[in-house]
C-alpha cells in the first residue's frame, strides 16, 4: 500500500475520534470482517491481534484445547508448532495413506500475494481458515474465517470483550451450555490497524507498480 493511502486511512480514522475496539461506534473492525468474509466466501470472521492468537482461536473454536490433538497444516511454521504445543495441543500427522485433514488452513498474506486471498481461500478445505495479515505491514494482525457459527462463538469467547461480551452489554452470563469461556486473552485488534489492513486488501491487485511508483508499505 502506498504511504499516501496509509496516511489517508489513518487520518480518516483519527478524525472520526473512534480508535477503541470496544467502542459501539467503531466501524473499522466490522468493515474488515465484511471484506474478509466476502473475499474468502466464509460467513464468519474473528479478528485478532496476531497470528498465534488466530491459531489459538481456530483451535478453541473447534473445542480443541489442552490435552487434545490436532493435525496442523503443512504451512505451519516452527513457531506455529511451538505455540500449539504451548496451548497444550499435541500435533498429529495424517494416518498412513490418509489425505491431510488439518484442523485449520493457514494463509500468510504479504503485499505481493494479497490479491490471491480469494483463490487461496477457495483451495482451503479445513473447517477453519487462519489468515495472517501481519505481512501487510501494520503490525501483528490476523483473522479466523469459518462457516460454523459454533466455531465463531467459541473463538470470540476466547477474547476478553469479544463480540459476545459486547453484544450482551459486557456480561458473560448468557452462555449456552458448553460455550462458557475458559481462559481468555485480550486478542482484540485495533481499529486503526484494521482500517489499514482493509485498505491494503481492498487495493490488492488493483494497482500495479507502474501506477504507484512501487513505493514501500
Amino acid at each position: 500500500m502506498e504511504q499516501f493511502d496509509t496516511a489517508l486511512v489513518l487520518s480518516r480514522v483519527l478524525t472520526s475520534g473512534v480508535v477503541m475496539s470496544i467502542e459501539k461506534n467503531d466501524r473499522e473492525l466490522p468493515a474488515l470482517e465484511r471484506l474478509l468474509t466476502k473475499r474468502t466466501r466464509r460467513s464468519k470472521a474473528i479478528l485478532v491481534n496476531s497470528r498465534s492468537a488466530a491459531v489459538h482461536a481456530a483451535l478453541t473454536g473447534q473445542d480443541i484445547g489442552h490435552g487434545d490433538t490436532a493435525e496442523l497444516p503443512a504451512a505451519a511454521t516452527g513457531r506455529d508448532r511451538a505455540f500449539v504445543d504451548w496451548v497444550g495441543v499435541t500435533a498429529t500427522a495424517p494416518a498412513d495413506g490418509a489425505a491431510p485433514a488439518p484442523a485449520f488452513d493457514l494463509i500468510t498474506l504479504t503485499p505481493e500475494n494479497a490479491a490471491d486471498l480469494a483463490s487461496a481461500a477457495a483451495d482451503a478445505t479445513a473447517p477453519t481458515l487462519v489468515v495472517d495479515l501481519t505481512g501487510l505491514g501494520f503490525g501483528p494482525a490476523a483473522a479466523v474465517l469459518t462457516d460454523d457459527a459454533g466455531v465463531w462463538t467459541r473463538g470470540e469467547r476466547l477474547k476478553i470483550f469479544g463480540a459476545f461480551d459486547l453484544r450482551t452489554m459486557w456480561t458473560q452470563e448468557e452462555a449456552e451450555p458448553g460455550l462458557a469461556p475458559g481462559v481468555q486473552f485480550n486478542y482484540r485488534l485495533s481499529p486503526l490497524v484494521a482500517a489499514c489492513a482493509r485498505m491494503a486488501l481492498a487495493q490488492a491487485g488493483t494497482r500495479s507498480a507502474e501506477k504507484t511508483g512501487d513505493t514501500p508499505r
Binding site: 504511504q3 496516511a7 489513518l10 487520518s11 480518516r12 483519527l14 478524525t15 472520526s16 475520534g17 473512534v18 480508535v19 477503541m20 475496539s21 491481534n49 496476531s50 497470528r51 498465534s52 492468537a53 473445542d63 480443541i64 484445547g65 489442552h66 490435552g67 487434545d68 516452527g78 513457531r79 506455529d80 511451538a82 505455540f83 504451548w86 497444550g88 501481519t134 505491514g137 501494520f138 503490525g139 501483528p140 494482525a141 476478553i160 470483550f161 461480551d165 450482551t168 459486557w170 456480561t171 458473560q172 452470563e173 452462555a175 462458557a180 475458559g182 481462559v183 481468555q184 486473552f185 485480550n186 486478542y187 482484540r188 485488534l189 485495533s190 481499529p191 486503526l192 490497524v193 508499505r217
Partner: protein, 439 residues
C-alpha cells in the same frame, strides 16, 4: 465526514438548576442528551502527523522508541511493549518467575484480565478481599492466603490508587514471594515520587485507548526491575511462539500522547478535586479515599454513599445506590457500577475449564475454591454502597462539564424523598444478584 468535534457547547452551570425538578420526574436534565457524549481519547493534529511520520520509520524502531520513552517516564529498569494489558500482565508474571501450578494471590475485585493473566501463565489465581478504604488488595487477607505453593502477590492499583505497596512488599519478602503489579489503571499514579509500574519485581499495564494514557487502539507494556526478569519473559515469547507484539501504529500514537500525559494528569486531578469538594457538601456522597503520600490517577472515580446522612439509614444501602444511580443517569451523569460481583463469581472462574479440560486448575486442585460473593464481605459492601464515574474526569472534560456533574450530585442529594420514593416503587436487587458484568 465523521468528526469528533462536539455538535454544540454545554451551558455554563446555573444555580437555578439545583432546585429544579429531577430529570427522572420530568425536569430538565443537568446535562442534556444532545451534549452528553465525551469523545475520548483526545486526538490532536500532532498525533495525526506523528503517525504519518512513523510510516517512514522502521516499525520495530517506532515501537522500541515508544517503550524506551515510557520506561524512562515510569522509572522501571526494563520494558517490553505488548499488544494488550492482559499480555503484559502475563509476561510480568512469567518474568517474576511464576511457573505452572503456582499460586498467585490476587484481589477478588479487579478487572477479569488480572485473573485471566494468571491462568495464561498456567498458574492458579487465589482470590482475596480488599481494604475497605482503598479498595485495593488487603495485605492482611493476602497474608492469610499464603501457602507453600504461593509464588507471587499481584496487587492491583484499583481505579488508579496505588495499593499498600510497603506492606505488600514486606509480606512478599517475608515469604520469598514475587511482587507483581497490575498497574492498568494507574498511569502516573505515585507513592512519594515513585511511579506505579516501578514498585514491584515486575508489572503489567494496559494502554488501551480507554485508559488515562491511551494508545492507538490496543496496547500494553510489561516492566521488570531486573534484566533476568526481562530476559525470562522475552525468551518465553520466543520459545513458545507467542506473538504479543505491539503494532507500530499503537506505538507511534503512544509516543505522541506521552508528551501530553502530564497535562491529562493535571486535568484529572483538577476535576477530581472540584468534584470531591462538591460531594463533601452533600452528606450523602463521599469522594475516594487517598492515603497520605499517594497520588491517585483517577482512571475511575468511585463515590461512596452514606444514606444515614440524609435520613435514609433505614433503607438498604444497595437500594439507595440503585435509586441514586437511576436519578444520576436521568440527569445525564454516566454513573456506573463497574463490577457487580467478585471476579471468582464470573463464569470463567466458576466453570474453570481454562485452556481445556480444566488445565491449569488441575495442576493444583488444593488451591481451587468455589466462591460465593459473600466470601468477600468488603467487596460486597463496597459494590452495594458505591457508584463509579469512569472516563468522566479526563481531558477533554472541561470545567463546565465537571461542574455540571457536581451539580447533578448536589441536586440528587437534596432529594432524599425522591430516593425513598424510587426504593419503594422499584424492585431493586443486590448488585451480585444481577448477571456478572465485565465492566
Amino acid at each position: 465526514m465523521i468528526t469528533d468535534f462536539p455538535s454544540s457547547p454545554l451551558a455554563l452551570p446555573d444555580p437555578a438548576d439545583l432546585t429544579a425538578e429531577l430529570a427522572e420526574f420530568g425536569g430538565a436534565a443537568m446535562i442534556p442528551k444532545e451534549v452528553r457524549r465525551t469523545i475520548f481519547p483526545v486526538i490532536t493534529k500532532e498525533d495525526v502527523f506523528n503517525l504519518l511520520l512513523a510510516q517512514r520509520s522502521d516499525a520495530a524502531k517506532v515501537v522500541d522508541g515508544f517503550a524506551e520513552e515510557y520506561r524512562a517516564y515510569v522509572g522501571a529498569r526494563r520494558a517490553l511493549p505488548t499488544a494488550s494489558g492482559t499480555s503484559s500482565l502475563h509476561l510480568a508474571l512469567v518474568g517474576a518467575g511464576v511457573q505452572p501450578g503456582d499460586e498467585v494471590i490476587v484481589p477478588a475485585f479487579t478487572f477479569i484480565a488480572t485473573a485471566q493473566a494468571v491462568v495464561a501463565a498456567k498458574a492458579i489465581p487465589v482470590f482475596v478481599d480488599i481494604d475497605p478504604l482503598t479498595y485495593c488488595m488487603s495485605p492482611e487477607a493476602a497474608a492469610a492466603a499464603i501457602t507453600d505453593r504461593a509464588r507471587a502477590l499481584m496487587p492491583v492499583h484499583v481505579h488508579g490508587l496505588p495499593a499498600d505497596v510497603p506492606a505488600l512488599r514486606a509480606l512478599a519478602d517475608r515469604h520469598g514471594l514475587a511482587l507483581v503489579e497490575d498497574a492498568s489503571h494507574a498511569h502516573s499514579a505515585k507513592i512519594g515520587d515513585r511511579v506505579a509500574g516501578s514498585f514491584g519485581d515486575a508489572a503489567g499495564q494496559s494502554l488501551m485507548a480507554d485508559k488515562n494514557f491511551p494508545l492507538g487502539g490496543e496496547g500494553g507494556i510489561a516492566f521488570f526491575d531486573s534484566d533476568e526478569g526481562y530476559d525470562r519473559a522475552a525468551d518465553y515469547l520466543e520459545r513458545h511462539g507467542i506473538d504479543y507484539g505491539m503494532s507500530w501504529v499503537a506505538g507511534a500514537f503512544g509516543s505522541s500522547q506521552l508528551k501530553r500525559l502530564p497535562y491529562y494528569d493535571a486535568i484529572r486531578a483538577r476535576n477530581a478535586s472540584l468534584l470531591a469538594a462538591a460531594l463533601r457538601e452533600t452528606g450523602l456522597f463521599t469522594p475516594p479515599h487517598v492515603p497520605e503520600g499517594h497520588t491517585h490517577a483517577y482512571n475511575m472515580y468511585r463515590i461512596g454513599l452514606d444514606p444515614a446522612a440524609v435520613d435514609l439509614g433505614d433503607l438498604p444501602v444497595w437500594a439507595v445506590k440503585e435509586a441514586v444511580h437511576e436519578l444520576l443517569t436521568a440527569e445525564g451523569v454516566p454513573a456506573r457500577e463497574w463490577q457487580n460481583t467478585p471476579i471468582p463469581c464470573h463464569l470463567p472462574f466458576r466453570e474453570r475449564s481454562g485452556f481445556g479440560n480444566g488445565y491449569p486448575f488441575t495442576l493444583n486442585p488444593a488451591a481451587v475454591r468455589d466462591h460465593a460473593p459473600t466470601d468477600f464481605p468488603t467487596i460486597v459492601a463496597m459494590l452495594e454502597s458505591t457508584v463509579v464515574l469512569c472516563r468522566e474526569l479526563r481531558s477533554p472534560v472541561e470545567w463546565e462539564r465537571v461542574s455540571r456533574y457536581a451539580d447533578a450530585f448536589r441536586k440528587v442529594a437534596a432529594r432524599p424523598d425522591a430516593i425513598r420514593k424510587l426504593v419503594a416503587e422499584r424492585e431493586y436487587v443486590r448488585p451480585y444478584e444481577k448477571a456478572a458484568r465485565l465492566g
